[in-house]
């Protein structure tokens, strides 16, 4: 029938452009890596690649959290502040010869969990847009970090705490190991579980999701709590790596995380996105800023380039979607 063949055509074009979009990012990533390898001898060295992944890992963890949230049609601006709050909270319990190392870790994670759950609670109860709610909690979080630390960096942390984000296991930085574990965990949660499917449904059409019997508020509570938990993990790792709990840490991190998710193909209108895309987005940001460093481009220009890449990625994506529609 006409009808079927017509849908077949639109479908096949959609798949083709859709795949192009997915592969496009990978091709761009490989292309940039190749160019940098050829232009700067220092780029393709084990040492430099380790540096990149280490630098990327904090942003990637935050980006995983924000990907869950954006898929449900929400946004979280408070994750950068959460990095500071959780980092300071953990550092306060991480001085040498005080508590075993699990204590600061659990304190930091609990702080992030509570903070994220608070975001989710206000968003689901008040129906105030997530943008506004998390704009508020972003400022609250920054204030809390300054209160907790009395405005001063919390230093003198135990070696075992500093090992979490600064150590190596069998020559591999712990950050990279944690990143890989978190990536696998988040991917499985998003793709293989009931709650992951519900995230797509809520972001794809909230009303229809509700009418299908999906517990909307529960799904939202979970994604914001997850966002808080991943921000706490990032906060602990950052604090451990720089061996200091900084109340000013993480400023602007939320924007880098959102950028990684968006470059990775997550739509800000909700309902689409993958963890692989987000990881690639974070790696792309990391490789480009590393490459610009190696090419001695000043950081001022780096910001301009990064902004242009974000817009370019979204423009390409929406062009693909338009052609497919």
């Amino acid at each position: 029938m006409m009808n079927t063949s017509f849908t077949q055509v639109t479908q096949s074009t959609k798949t083709r452009f859709g795949q192009l979009g997915q592969y496009g990012l990978l091709i761009a990533f490989i292309g940039i890596c190749l160019t940098l390898s050829l232009t700067t001898p220092r780029f393709f060295t084990v040492q430099n690649l380790m540096i990149i992944v280490t630098q990327v890992s904090i942003n990637a963890l935050l980006a995983f959290g924000v990907t869950f949230i954006i898929i449900t049609g929400g946004i979280d601006l408070s994750i950068g502040s959460m990095v500071a709050v959780t980092g300071v909270a953990a550092a306060s319990f991480a001085h040498p010869d005080t508590y075993p190392v699990v204590v600061p870790v659990l304190i930091g994670l609990s702080a992030g969990l509570l903070f994220g759950a608070f975001n989710g609670f206000v968003i689901t109860r008040s129906h105030v847009p997530p943008f506004i709610v998390t704009l508020g909690t972003m400022t609250i979080g920054r204030g809390l970090a300054l209160i907790l630390s009395k405005g001063r960096p919390v230093s003198n942390l135990s070696d075992s705490f500093n090992f979490i984000g600064g150590g190596k296991i069998l020559g591999v930085p712990t950050l990279i190991i944690i990143l890989i574990v978190a990536f696998i965990g988040c991917s499985v949660l998003l793709k293989k579980t009931v709650i992951g499917r519900y995230m797509y449904a809520v972001g794809g059409n909230e009303q229809a999701a509700r009418a299908s019997g999906i517990p909307i508020s529960k799904v939202k509570m979970i994604v914001y709590t997850l966002g808080g938990l991943l921000a706490a993990l990032a906060g602990i790792l950052l604090t451990s790596r720089i061996t200091t709990g900084q109340p000013n840490a993480g400023q602007g991190f939320e924007l880098d995380a959102i950028a990684a998710a968006i470059i990775g193909g997550t739509s800000t209108s909700g309902g689409t996105g993958t963890m692989t895309g987000t990881l690639l987005g974070a790696l792309l940001i990391g490789v480009i800023s590393n490459g610009l460093d190696l090419l001695n481009v000043t950081s001022y220009y780096q910001e301009v380039v990064m902004g242009a890449i974000i817009i370019g990625a979204v423009v390409l994506d929406s062009m693909n979607q338009k052609r497919a529609a």
Partner: protein, 498 residues
């Protein structure tokens, strides 16, 4: 009548999408001042043809002559300038602007030193236009406060203000009550008397025979023919559209209703309905009849837990139940197929498979992890049972035709094993082939002992399927009719009552 000259002449129009012919040498001749119905099943090529006419798509070959000049290469703006306008199935307006601002959108007048908007003169012009159409819509009301019928009048006013010569209407009555349809038809007749030609697309047969002068039939992108409406009957027209005889649309049912499944007593919701009481039995179809705004959908939403009730009780198999959300309703065995497929039925970006399993996902999961093999098997089975046409279970549901989308929604609801299903306008906007399949499906559900509440604005459909009919008017129930008592006339009488 003196034969009028041809306004619009389409010859041998062909349009190919990636090698598939959506239109194959299609002809269309619209005379001045006639209502020309364009008929065909979904996918016959009507939308493509209209998109080409209004300049959204360019044809591969063929020509479009309008008042002697070719429109083949014209863009949307040029076509509108020439006087061809379309009223879309989905209203395209700016809800926050007023009626007058919407009518003159893009043609605002300014005056004074600072080129300020001159809204008051436009408002007067809009009032005149609307008065001319014989409708009382305040020109300064915000469009978001209008009913669908009123929005449509605004669209028509907009077209007239553009000095329209050919007006294309795509399913204009799909959301209108009978009285509003009558108003619309008198407006159409007035327009045609003034020499405006109307191209009318609808799936409703009775409308075609009421309003159309000429009928052009398309099937699978092919031009089947052009006929004076008086030469056709409903059966011959269906045969031309479908290319085969349909089985009898409403098969006889032999199922005898069983025990009571769901009953409601004195159900009320402020501003929506009051004191509604009825019961529906296993294997029974209870029809809910009423005009637009009678409260049928509102009752359905309350029974499904989408809206709260203020007073009254709901009983399932004799036990009182409370429903706080659709989740509760689904758990109790209540299913709802909404009248609004796009808003409440589907997650467009998700695949057919994921949409089908969405309401029953936990049954394919162990400890929160989805067993994808089990999920796929279930989805493929549903697709086969309901004959859902898709390239694969992984095709995004948004690319399916209306009828197939509707079957996906029904499939999703049935996967949760309901004991009672509410079908709210289950055949709205779908073609006649898909309609007849949905009717057969309703019979299968009946035979399997499911209790069905059917809401439909198409009386032949309601009468053909229901065992009893409950009539609502302005939020109250006015009659509960047996199959023998229920006729179009009695239903209409009770529907208009208080």
């Amino acid at each position: 009548m003196i034969p009028q000259p041809c306004m619009l002449e389409v010859t041998d129009l062909t349009k190919t999408f990636s090698g598939v012919k959506a239109l194959d040498a299609v002809q269309l001749q619209v005379r001045k001042g006639e209502v020309h119905a364009l008929m065909g099943e979904n996918g016959a090529g009507k939308s493509t043809l209209m998109k080409i006419l209004i300049g959204l798509l360019k044809p591969d070959s063929g020509d479009i002559l309008f008042e002697g000049s070719s429109l083949k290469a014209a863009n949307v703006h040029e076509v509108l300038q020439k006087g061809i306008a379309m009223i879309h199935q989905e209203m395209l307006n700016v809800p926050e602007l007023t009626v007058a601002q919407n009518i003159f959108l893009g043609r605002e007048t300014t005056g004074g030193l600072f080129r300020w908007l001159n809204d008051s003169s436009r408002s007067k012009q809009a009032a005149a236009l609307l008065a001319h159409l014989g409708v009382s819509i305040p020109p300064d009301a915000k469009v978001k406060h209008l009913s669908v019928a009123e929005m449509q009048m605004v669209e028509i006013a907009k077209a007239i203000s553009n000095d329209v010569k050919v007006l294309i209407m795509d399913e204009p009555t799909s959301a209108l009550a009978d009285a509003e349809v009558t108003t619309l038809f008198s407006i159409i007749r007035e327009l045609t008397q003034k020499g405006v030609s109307v191209i009318y697309i609808s799936h409703k047969m009775d409308e075609i025979f009421t309003i159309a002068d000429t009928v052009t039939v398309l099937r699978d992108g092919q031009y089947i023919g052009r006929y004076p409406a008086t030469d056709l009957t409903e059966n011959t027209l269906i045969k031309l559209m479908v290319g085969r005889e349909l089985d009898r649309l409403f098969p006889e049912s032999t199922t005898q209703p069983g025990a009571e499944v769901l009953s409601v007593k004195h159900l009320s919701r402020k501003g929506a309905f009051s004191d509604i009481s009825f019961a529906v039995h296993a294997g029974e179809v209870l029809g809910l009849a009423g005009l637009m705004g009678a409260g049928r959908t509102e009752v359905a939403r309350a029974i499904y837990g989408l809206d709260s009730i203020h007073t009254g009780e709901i009983y399932l198999k004799g036990q009182p139940i409370t429903l706080k959300s659709p989740q509760d309703a689904i758990r109790q065995g209540i299913g709802y197929v909404s009248e609004d497929r796009k808003q409440l039925g589907l997650i467009p970006a998700l695949s057919v498979k994921y949409n089908i399993t969405l309401g029953s996902l936990s049954t394919y999961a162990d400890g929160g992890f989805i067993r994808s093999q089990r999920e796929s098997t279930a989805a493929v089975e549903v697709m086969a049972n309901l004959r859902i046409k898709a390239t694969s279970p992984d095709q995004p549901v948004v690319y399916l035709s209306g009828g197939n989308q509707q079957k996906v929604v029904i499939g999703k609801v049935l996967q949760a094993n309901p004991v009672v299903v509410i079908l709210d306008e289950p055949t709205r906007g779908i073609d006649i082939g898909a309609k007849s399949e949905i009717y057969k499906l309703i019979h299968q559900l009946k035979a399997s002992g499911i209790a069905i509440i059917l809401i439909s604005s198409e009386l032949p459909e309601l009468l053909g399927l229901s065992d009893r009919v409950l009539v609502l008017a302005k939020g109250t129930q006015t009659a509960l009719l047996s199959k023998e008592e229920a006729t179009q006339e009695t239903i209409m009488r009770y529907a208009m009552q208080p």
